[in-house]
Amino acid sequence: MSEELNYRHAIARALADEMDYDDRVILIGEDVGAAGGAFKSTDGLYERFGPARVRDTPISEQAIVGAATGAAIMGLRPVAEIMFADFAGVCFDQIANQLAKYRYMTGGQVSVPVTIRMTNGAGAGFAAQHSQGTENWFLNIPGLKIAVPGTVPDLYGLLRSAIRDPDPVLVFEHKALFAIKGTIPGGTSLVPLGTADVVREGGDVTIVAAQQMRHRAVEAAAELAREGIEATVIDPRTLVPFDDDTVIDSLRVTSRLAVVQEAPADGSWGASLISRMTTSNFELFDAPPLLIAADATPVPYAGSLEAAWLPSTDRITAEVRKQVRY
């Protein structure tokens, strides 16, 4: 039986359903328990599962991630919460050097089934240290998987898949999407890691975008359709592993690729995707690929500045229109 929820409630629902499914699943993080989460995304879990499985921690991101890692090695399936993705900076060693490398350094002696949930995303005036999409920081660290859900069913299904996955998965929950609504289909509704979603099909251009930018890409595609330009919109849903095949299949039809991302261009998933596509499938392109990215600045505070920083629907529409007419 399907059910309508918002993005925030889908987090708590996915966590509760996995905790019901597997009693090795525990939650740890700052205010995840008695307070129900800084974003109320773990509301009700403490009351339902108790303090041994829903553990409030001190403000200690290194200890949170490291404790999850050690507990995972010894048989639990911890879900750690880093309240804002920017705070990953204070536990970068634990994610990059410990969690990600543990299996490899030990020659495969251990699995490290840790899920780290972090909120990312600009648009709400949280300024430079509470808004960044830090998912790109982790692209160059083999051993991690990265999920970037942009809809309610994707968030629900990817989070459950992440918790069941034998490897570390970083799940980014976008702050600007917390109020969006969606429907979770019946059953377990898992969304496999590494499977893109074709949101919309059109023959003129392939637009790849995730989370907030996915929604703006869909709006831009509707605008372009009024002008007779038909876009395919692909939401990758996970950045690692990345579903290249779905993008290639679409490029065979459209011959044009535009990537929209809420981050500067250098060292980003969009730049990597374009690199992979052009180096291995150059013959498919009829126009230069387009990377619609944020400016290379920290996320600004003022409404006018933040709006200028984020790729807007109008900018996506204009740049794709120009690309199609190339």
């Binding site: 525990i26 041994a52 553990r55 921690t57 001190p58 200690s60 290194q62 200890a63 949170i64 991630v65 490291g66 404790a67 999850a68 890692t69 050690g70 507990a71 995972a72 090695i73 010894m74 048989g75 639990l76 911890p78 060693d93 634990q94 050097n97 410990q98 543990y102 299996r103 490899y104 350094m105 030990t106 020659g107 495969g108 002696q109 251990v110 699995s111 083999p142 051993g143 998987k145 034998p166 490897d167």
Partner: protein, 339 residues
């Protein structure tokens, strides 16, 4: 620099005989054998390194054997141990096989970590040695996690971490002890205070002389022990492990010891004051327990020679075997990144 009045040579001047009994099963002869195994292993590593058989660097633990053997001697199967990049001794003290340890150093497919880790990442999960870490203090949060799993699953296991004196100045140390204390986790943190953080003497980096006092910040016991007295170390560790197992929470142990070989193989130790090394060599943990056993009439010169010969042959055999093993197949490069 904060004032620190007592110097290290003064600490080393004490020359009391090693303890031989603490009421815990396992005699001093057994602990001596374990220390000799580590000593001879490290001697062989030095040879291998000099011969160009070891890649990168390696950090030897000669002089610190009593800490590893004493603490691991207080553990039981199912307990877990994490350690530093100077961790050969601790991993061997948990029971990792000598040949596979040599194999890892030599980058062999049959090494403990299939040649993926090397000297600084010796791991043998099957004996509870769940990781050697090359980020100072980086393993301490992981140790807390192992203790969390033990508490949550009710296994009764204890999670032990070795750390250097320098690690007590990194943030992960504070976060780890704080979290372990607040959750009363079954963890034991053992500082191997060898008085140098790489090349810097402790006094130049640390405003307290006794690191065990840092336990007070977390309202847990902080215990100092002569780290070159193997039975004394075991005794202190045994009490900390008992507390942890009984649900009384973590303990911070500071074992006073000395690294006889410098920081890494590229370190000639020029920063040591004259006489310091000699003073510590005179209270070598192996020498001291051998002397105490001889004085107690528990071992003869011939018996000691036989024991040393046996262990030396065991180490030589393991080295020889590992040297003959194949290197990892290039195809294994991409294995073990993901499950």
């Amino acid at each position: 620099m904060p004032e620190q009045t007592e110097d290290i040579v003064a600490t080393a001047a004490g020359h009391e005989p090693a303890t031989l009994a603490d009421g815990v099963p396992g005699d001093a002869e057994h602990l001596l054998r374990s220390m000799l195994r580590i000593r001879f292993f490290e001697d062989e590593v030095r040879e291998m390194f000099t011969a160009g058989l070891v890649r990168g660097s390696t950090h030897l633990c000669q002089g610190q054997e009593a800490v590893a053997v004493g603490v691991c001697g207080a553990l039981r199967p199912g307990d877990t141990m994490t350690c530093t990049y100077r961790g050969h001794g601790a991993v061997l003290a948990m029971g990792a096989p000598l040949d596979r340890a040599f194999g890892e150093l030599l980058g062999k497919a049959g090494g403990l970590c299939r040649g993926k880790g090397g000297s600084m990442h010796f791991t043998d999960v099957s004996v509870g040695a769940i990781g050697s870490n090359a980020i100072v203090g980086g393993h301490l949060p992981v140790t807390v996690g192992a203790a969390l799993a033990a508490q949550h699953l009710g296994t009764g296991a204890v999670s032990v971490a070795f750390l250097g004196d320098g690690a007590t100045n990194i943030g992960a140390f504070h976060e780890s002890l704080n979290l372990a204390a607040i959750w009363r986790l079954p963890a034991v943190f053992v500082i191997e205070n060898n008085h140098y953080g790489e090349y810097s003497p402790l006094a130049s980096t640390t405003p307290v002389r006794q690191l065990a006092v840092r336990a007070a910040s977390y309202a847990i016991p902080g215990v100092g022990v002569d780290g070159n007295d193997v039975v004394a170390v075991r005794s202190v560790a045994h009490e900390a492990v008992r507390r942890a197992r009984d649900g009384d929470g973590p303990t911070l142990i500071e074992a006073d010891t000395y690294r006889q070989q410098g920081h890494s193989r590229s370190d000639p130790g020029a920063y040591r004051p004259p006489g310091e090394l000699e003073a510590w060599l005179a209270r070598d943990p192996i020498l001291r327990v051998e002397q105490a056993l001889a004085e107690a009439g528990r071992i003869t010169k011939a018996g000691l020679d036989a024991l040393r010969g046996e262990v030396a042959a065991e180490v030589a055999g393991a080295s020889s075997a590992a040297r003959g093993w194949p290197e990892p197949a290039p195809e294994s490069l991409r294995e073990d990144v993901y499950a």
